[in-house]
Structures are given as C-alpha cells and as structure tokens.
C-alpha cells in the first residue's frame, strides 16, 4: 500500500488492465507522445507502444465512433476525452451507437468501451470548459457512469470499468489529479454499483459523488464542531445506483442533503430526490435539500466562479436546514 496521487492511480489501473488483456487500448488527444494533457497516461506509450497508446487528431466524433466500432468487435478501448466538455461533439456516438447497440442487436453486439476524462470545473476555465457532464451520460439507458473521488477508488473503479462489458463513463476531476491517498499495490477491482460510506454520523446524510465528496467531508468536519455528525455517502457509481445504501442512510438519519457539482435542472440530485421520495418518503423528517452549481454557465471571474460553485458553507447551511437549525453554523 503506497500513497500515490489520483492521477497515478488511474495510470495504474490502465496499466493493470493492459497488462492482463491485449484487447485493451488507449486512444485520445495527446495521450501518447505528450503523456496526456493531464499526464494521466504518463509512460504508457513507452510501455505499450503506439499500437496500444494512440494519439488521435482533434476529431472527437470520429475517434469516439472509431473506438465504439472497435469495441463492437470485442476490443476494449479506453477512449479519453481531454475533458468531457469536448465530448458534446461526440455524444451522438455515445448515445446513438454505444448506448443503444446491444439493445437494438438483441444482445449480439456488446460495446465494452470506457469513456474517461475530467468532468466539471477546475479553476477559472470559464463557461465552455467547466461543465459537469453527468446528466448527459446517465439520462439514456445503456451507459454506466462512475465517479471516483479518491485514489483507491480511482484505481479500483477504472479497472472494473475496463473489464465491464458495457459502455462505462468514468468521470474524473482535474482538481482531483493531485489528490494523494493510500492505494493497494496489488490487482483489485471495485464493483460498480456499490456506494461507499466515506464517513458515518447519525444526524444527517450528505449524499454526493465525485469531487464533491471532499467538500462533503470538509462540511462534515465543520458540522462536527457544532456536535452534528454527518454520514457522507459517496455514490461512486451513478448507474448502477446503490439504492439500498441511499435508503439505509435515509432511514438512519432521516435528513438528507444531496451535493453535486453540476446544474440543478434534471441533475443527478433531482433523480435521487425523486427516488427517496418514492422509496424513502416515510423516513424523511424534512425535504431533501440539494446543493448544486448555481443555475448559470460558469463565469470566469474568480469571485463569480466561487459564488457559482457549491462549497462547504452551502453544504453546512443545507445540513442545518434539514435539521431545522438556524442558519449560521461555523
């Protein structure tokens, strides 16, 4: 067990799977000679050669479709988007080819592909480069979505995604790449669909995913100073969704905040609220409160960007609200 970065954990997962299985290859912009725009694939060209680590032209629709086509023959492409912001150009191939192929071929043509790259905002990248893309990838059935928050999860979930026979989107975070954590050296996978209680406390549940897990944990620490103990449930996987884990925390604390980086309208949180009201209605002592990005495109100016992003203070206030405590915790 070594302490490594989230970036290196992703790298380790790709190498682990490429060592096991020659049908796995990595394609994307700058993934080979440049070692990846965010250096996630550092050293992989040297290790696997340009047959398996491939720089693509800036042709998102094309190389995504090419990877889907390759997957239709049983290869296991890892299709890297420099960021998911650019995958809008490719989304037709994600939805109309990858997501629907198995179904419309009656199971003949699985598409074992991984789409990965950072989602959501980094720092001051402005409107076109700061979008949390989860909703676009989960609304349609046929694609799975995982959102690792820690280095250990990054390695285990990406490895599982690569082995999975379905299209899996793995959404990372540019601001997570340097996060360090203990990661087992040995080969392992974390099954998709298993949420992880990153912290437990009986007073209130903060349910969240991806980068926001860290904000939730910080908020939980802040709340603890006022004697409020929060569950922090990291969904890790949005499709499949660990409904049992969600209902369990709801049943235990009766008060829920959903925290996500993306926009509110038809966001992941809307679905979670809908699920809880459907299956955990009687367990709720207060309406679920959602904390999301402000419903605006991401502004560039530092002060506006800070305002637009969901932060610790907002989470703390939301927790106090579902506890019917006055605003203004520390």
């Amino acid at each position: 067990m070594a302490e490594i970065t989230y970036r290196d954990a992703l790298n380790a997962a790709m190498c682990q799977e490429m060592d096991r299985d020659d049908s796995v290859f990595l394609m994307g912009e700058e993934v080979a000679e440049y070692d990846g725009a965010y250096k996630v694939s550092r050293g992989m060209l040297d290790r696997y050669g340009d047959r398996r680590v491939v720089d693509s032209p800036i042709s998102e629709l094309g190389f995504t479709g090419l990877c889907v086509g390759a997957a239709m023959t049983g290869l296991r492409p890892i299709c890297e988007f420099m960021t998911f912001n650019f995958s809008f150009l490719a989304i037709d191939q994600v939805i109309n080819s990858a997501a629907k192929m198995m179904y419309m071929t009656n199971g003949q043509v699985p598409v074992p592909i991984v789409f990965r790259g950072p989602t959501g905002a980094a720092l001051q990248l402005s409107a076109q480069h700061s979008q949390a893309c989860e909703t676009w990838y989960v609304h349609a059935p046929g694609v799975k979505l995982v959102t690792p928050a820690t280095p250990a999860d990054a390695k285990g979930l990406l490895a599982a995604a690569i082995r999975d026979d379905d299209p899996v989107a793995v959404m990372e975070g540019e601001l997570l790449y340097n996060v360090r954590g203990e990661v087992p050296d040995e080969e392992y996978v974390i099954p998709l669909g298993v949420a992880d209680l990153k912290r437990s406390g009986d007073d209130v549940s903060i349910v969240t995913h991806g980068k926001m897990v860290h904000v939730a944990l910080q908020a939980a620490r802040t709340l603890a100073r006022d004697g409020i103990e929060a569950d922090v449930l990291d969904l890790r996987s949005i499709r499949p969704l660990d409904v049992d884990a969600i209902l369990e925390t709801v049943a235990r604390t009766n008060r829920v905040v959903y925290l996500e980086e993306g926009w509110p309208f038809a966001g992941v949180g809307a679905q979670i609220v809908s699920l809880i009201q459907d299956e955990g209605f009687d367990d709720l002592d207060a309406p679920v409160v959602r904390v999301t990005q402000a419903d605006v495109p991401m502004p560039y100016a530092k002060n506006l960007e800070q305002l637009a992003k969901p932060g610790v203070k907002a989470v703390v206030e939301a927790c106090r609200k579902v506890l019917y405590l006055p605003a203004g915790g520390r």
Binding site: S59, L61, K144, P240
Partner: protein, 387 residues
Amino acid sequence: MTQATRETETGVNGDAAAVATKGGPGAGSGLRGFSRDDLHGLLADMLLYRRFEEKAEEAYAIGKIGGFCHLHIGQEGLAAGAIKPLRADDLVITAYREHTQALAKGITPRAAMAELYGRSGGCSGGRGGSMHLFDTSLGFYGGHGIVGGQIPLGAGLAWAIRYRGGDQVCVCFMGDAAVNQGSFLESLNMSAVWQLPVIYVVENNGYGMGTAFSRVSVTDMEARSGAYGIPAHTVDGQDVLETYRFFEELAGQVRAGAGPQFVNALTYRFRGHSMSDPVSGTYRSRAEVERHVEEQDPITILRDRMMDADLLTQEELEAVDAEARAASEDAADFADASPPPDPSTLYDHVYAEINEHGRLFLDGRGKGPAAGAGGPAAPGFGGGDHG
C-alpha cells in the same frame, strides 16, 4: 460464387493510384472473367433481393411491417457487386437502406424478413427493425439510422482488423448525402493517418431524400476524399459485373496493404426515399425515374447480356425468378409465423451484464438489485396503449 471458383481476370488496374480514374458507366461491361455459373449466381442474387423487397413493400402496405422502411430496389447491382466478392470474414457496415446488403453478406431472407416484421426470429430479435439488421457472425455490422453514424464505426471495424493483425477488409457503405456529415472528414482522415483496411463506398443514387447532390455540393463526389489523400474511384453500380470485378480487385489491394479507398458508386433508387415518399415528386420527375428503370435496371442489364451471349434462356430466367419469389414468400411466411419478442424480455440487453450491485434501471421496476434479464416489466408500463 467465390473468388476461388472463377477466373481472376479483372477490369481493375493493380495500382491503387492508377485506378482512381477507372470505371464510369459502361466501362468493362463484358462478361469476360465470369463463368456461366458465376453469372447465374449473380442473377439469382439480384432477383432474390428484388423479390424480397417487393414482398416487403407488400407487407408494409398491409401493416405487417412498420416504422421506416427504405428499399434498395434499383441499387441491387451494388449489393451483389460489392459484397459478393468479399471473403466471409470481411466486414460490412452500412446505413438504414440495407436489406439487400444484409442478404448479400449471408443473412437469410427469413431472418431479414422476420426482423422487418419485428419478430423474435429476426436477425436482431425484432428489436432493430428494417434499419437495424445485424449478424456479426456473418461480418454484417448493421444497419445504422443516423446519417453518417456508421462511418466512424466502419473506421473502428477496420482499426480492429489492423489491431489484431488480420487481413480482412471492411467495406463501409454510405449514401451520397452522408459525405456532408463531419464524421466523413474525421473518419477518412483517421483512416488515412493509420492506413486502415477500409473501403468507403458511396452509394451515389443522386439524392439524399429530396435533395439532389448538386444542390448541396459544388464539387463532384470524387473530389471529396483527396483532402485526406485517399484515392477516389468511380464505378457503375448498375453494372454488376464491372462492380464485382472492381471490388474483387480493390479488396485484394486493400488486403495487401494499399490503405483506405473511396468509391463513388453510381446508382439510382427506383422507389421513394422511404415508404411514405412517392416514387417521383417535386425533386425528380416521373420521366427521370422511368428512364432509369428502363435503361439502368441492374437486373435487366445483366439478363440481356446473358441472353445476348446465349448464357440464359427465358425458361431459366423464369425458374430463377420463381425461386426468388418462393424464397421471399417463404421468408414472409416464416416471419408471419415467428412469434413477437417475449414481453418479459423488454429489459434484456440494455446492459450486457446482470449487475449484482446497485440498480441499473431507475423506473421503479424491481426494487431489489437490478435483474438484467427476464424480469417482468413493471406493471405500470404494461398498459401502453398510446399512439
């Protein structure tokens, strides 16, 4: 007819660059290189395609087939001529006007017709329909409904061939209108950069729905691939023999490493764009269609040539046509008798894996872990009666 059983003389020059100017209507129209059996085989193939689609047309009219249905009638020379010379393990991918291409690659009339009927015996289990025929065990990769969507997928099939070190070839068909999709640029460019074993074939029937190619392009079709350094060829798709010879040669070149190719295959659609589009209309005159049916029917062209060369009698023709009709009838009977998909399979095959953890489907069915297969549809969705 396979490559092995017939003489190998062809009308295509061995040099990929040199073939760029080859072809055009009428070129290489002789029977040379084809045995009597070869010719009878191609005639039977095309007649089967024609009768099959006429049967589909009938079935559509009485509501046995639904949705969009795009007939290939008039373009059969290209299905036979481009696909028959391929090896069984070569790969074909195409758009939504693909019935005859599916037959050419080996999908049975029964499996194809049952798919059009939306029955469980269909080659996509009845879930795909007319636009989504698939049998990957035969190297037939569909049947895609988004114009241009199959082009990068075709590049991906070719990528997979190269990745595995195979010597197959991928033939990727598209309509003339599809070359105006960005996916065309991106796919051709990548194919050139990586020298993929793929032949892009434009079935140039002159129109995308109601739009003549000349209204959406100032250049000729041949100009489109040079931007990526991919050789362009033109072939007369109404001449099945020229087409056959041409693709046999070209596939061999690509198999030997010639890199990606672009073929402008001239053809004509004898029916409307789909079942709801009249045969002629605002965008093309009745006279234009009639002239093509008269002069450019690939079946008539081959038939006449064979008769002229005393390689086909009227009786033989009638026999082979009767066989094609019988096979189409049989396909329709089979389709009719084939049960619709089991309603309990509604949620099957959305995902390949039955997930042990978490829930894959979020519409309230199955409150336990998601069952990927065989679970009954939620009662709430059993009452669909809208439309």
